[in-house]
Subunit: 371 residues, 2 copies
């Protein structure tokens, strides 16, 4: 058991990016070396999509984006909270899983078309819990309907010995289309003077969950702890990730093409500088912090640097748009049901994220994503 | 520990399809209900691809196939055999994983274009084993090169508490193109009188591995047991799955479009009747059985019905072609490096698989895959 006095951090909570990132870079280099295989098929890749959140190929003039993304460990929270609420919460978990894929897919300018399910259980028994199974299926279908995608198929293996008994490893892959080349948002359009519009998160989403779980272990009442708004901590952690597809689709319908987009997931606000170029991202305001994230920050005893460097802190998605389209972008997002703020701007300057209201700066060397 | 006298079977080995199949059908029904979401995008699904091995969409006249597939538990064998051979075997495991996706993708007539990696480890530590990591990356790259696909990206989460410590849940998703509508092989062309060409497997591939692992537990020398050909049992189990893409590509290049295809995976030769129609599949010969599969059958004490009903028994892929193209199909496969036999024929009649040399019949009700 952790001491109550030790601040919790992400590494202590089990995710050590310093071990994972070198593999990612090795794999990225090997992956990049296979691009030549497409030539024989009359297909080419959009090279700038390598290292971005989704992969884009030009197939006879049709631009197809694809991605595979993992939920992470959030299902463990659902398992732990179910006895407290009497609900399985796998409808929410399904939405989280789909969000991980489609919210990344839209960053390149794609309209998601299809989703495949990857539900890898620790044994056949997992599938015998009918209520949980029905919730998972219903939540998956509903999230597909919200995103206007077709659920094309999936894989439901039972992997005793690989996946822990009673647990499930959930992931989603998605295929989308970029209907015209000027919809591609791979970074070439980002410029000094662009505005940064932040879209609201619903809570922790599916990143930082290891930290949230670790915190539950050392709270006397665990997931049953009441937040300031009276909700259970566990229930609030399980608020499903916002699906940003209705927002990006509404923007495209209004003729607004972001210059760049970033899904704020692992690495928190450091992800704001995921663009390969050298820019300063300066924020003059920060969105309200969802109660569950304030609670985590306070009780885990982490400072703003740690909190904003690993959690979304209320901002689940960043749209970088022409300054004169910023207010309309925020308005369209709100009309699509997602709160939004014109929160910052892109400036020529050293690569960094500056959050002025918090006197916080993340330097370029605090984010390593690319080969 | 199992008694030496009890025959091992698939259910005893931990995979109980009777528990999984109802979920698959529930999910298939919900998935099918989302198809209408495509209409607003000017996209339609190829309805007959639902229930087939890959999902096909018509995107402005471009036919795109997609799939996500799991390796299963074969990595556990690599982990157990490594101390015996001093090799990680993850280069082979990588090939197996890609094979699971692309060998299914080609059944609908697709040319695979891209692959995404899904490597979900039991903790960050998994990625710190440099040799294993390098083998996995190198094997993945090589399999992509063999299949002429671009490795478009991937996901490498560390999921302590979901995936077992020290283990990895491996999967692949793939996107492909069907260059012309007459290349679609979704079953409408299958006819009385067609020939069945079987393509050789290399061994167990990645299905039936639970059984192979269970057997290792009760062999006195486990994976170190010598087979008739002098190889170690564990090494032979790890022979990587054949990549059938070079065969299907060579067939397409020669103008041969199969009337149907089946990847022989779970359910063994029962998969031969995966086509939704009512046909009798009659075999007049069976391919030679790889030594590792003979060994498993013998030492697990299972009869031919159990063996052919759950393992590939030497036939990893079935091509259903016009009778007058059967010999050329087999010749092209051999030229592409995969042994092949004109082994049977499709007949009007009740849905069943008849393996004459073994006096074996699998009836329609022995395979449940569809809603």
């Amino acid at each position: 058991m952790s001491s109550q006095n030790t601040p919790l951090d992400y590494t202590a909570a089990g995710v050590d990016y310093s071990k994972i990132d070198p593999l990612k870079i090795l794999a990225q280099q090997a992956a990049s070396a296979t691009r030549g295989n497409l030539a024989g098929h009359g297909v080419s890749e959009i090279a700038a999509s390598r290292g971005e959140s989704a992969y884009v190929m030009d197939i006879g003039g049709t631009l197809i984006a694809s991605i595979t993304e993992c939920l992470g460990t959030k299902a463990l929270v659902a398992d732990a909270v179910r006895p407290l609420t009497g609900r399985t919460h796998y409808d929410s978990i399904a939405q989280d899983t789909i969000a991980m894929a489609v919210n990344d897919l839209v960053t390149v300018g794609a309209t998601p078309l299809s989703v495949h399910a990857y539900w890898s259980a620790g044994g056949s028994d997992w599938f015998a819990d009918e209520q949980r199974m029905r919730d998972l299926v219903a939540g998956w279908q509903k999230a597909c309907d919200v995103c206007k995608v077709s659920w094309g198929g999936g894989e439901t293996p039972a992997l005793a010995g690989v996946v822990e008994a009673g647990r499930i490893d959930l992931a989603a892959s998605s295929v989308g289309i970029i209907p015209s080349r000027d919809r591609l948002t791979l970074g070439d359009k980002l410029a000094d003077g662009d505005a940064i519009v932040l879209l609201a998160s619903s809570g922790i989403h599916a990143n930082g969950v290891s930290l949230a779980r670790k915190l539950a272990e050392r709270l006397p009442d665990g997931y049953a702890t009441k937040l300031s708004d009276g909700r259970l901590y566990g229930e609030a952690v399980l608020d499903p990730t916002v699906l940003y597809v209705p927002v990006t689709e509404a923007l495209f319908a209004a003729g607004i093409v972001p210059h760049y987009s970033a899904n704020i997931t692992g690495h928190g606000w450091r992800k704001v500088m995921r663009h390969p170029g050298s820019f300063t991202y300066r924020f003059s305001m920060v969105p309200p912090v969802p109660p569950v994230l304030s609670f985590i920050q306070q009780h885990a005893g982490i400072d703003d640097r740690e909190a904003y460097g690993s959690l979304n802190m209320g901002a689940g998605f960043a749209l970088y748009v022409a300054a004169d389209q910023a207010e309309e972008t925020a308005r369209i997002a709100r009309a699509a049901g997602v709160d939004a703020w014109v929160a910052g701007r892109v400036e020529a300057g050293p690569k960094q994220v500056v959050i002025e209201p918090l006197s916080l700066t993340f330097a370029a060397d605090e984010l390593h994503l690319r080969a």
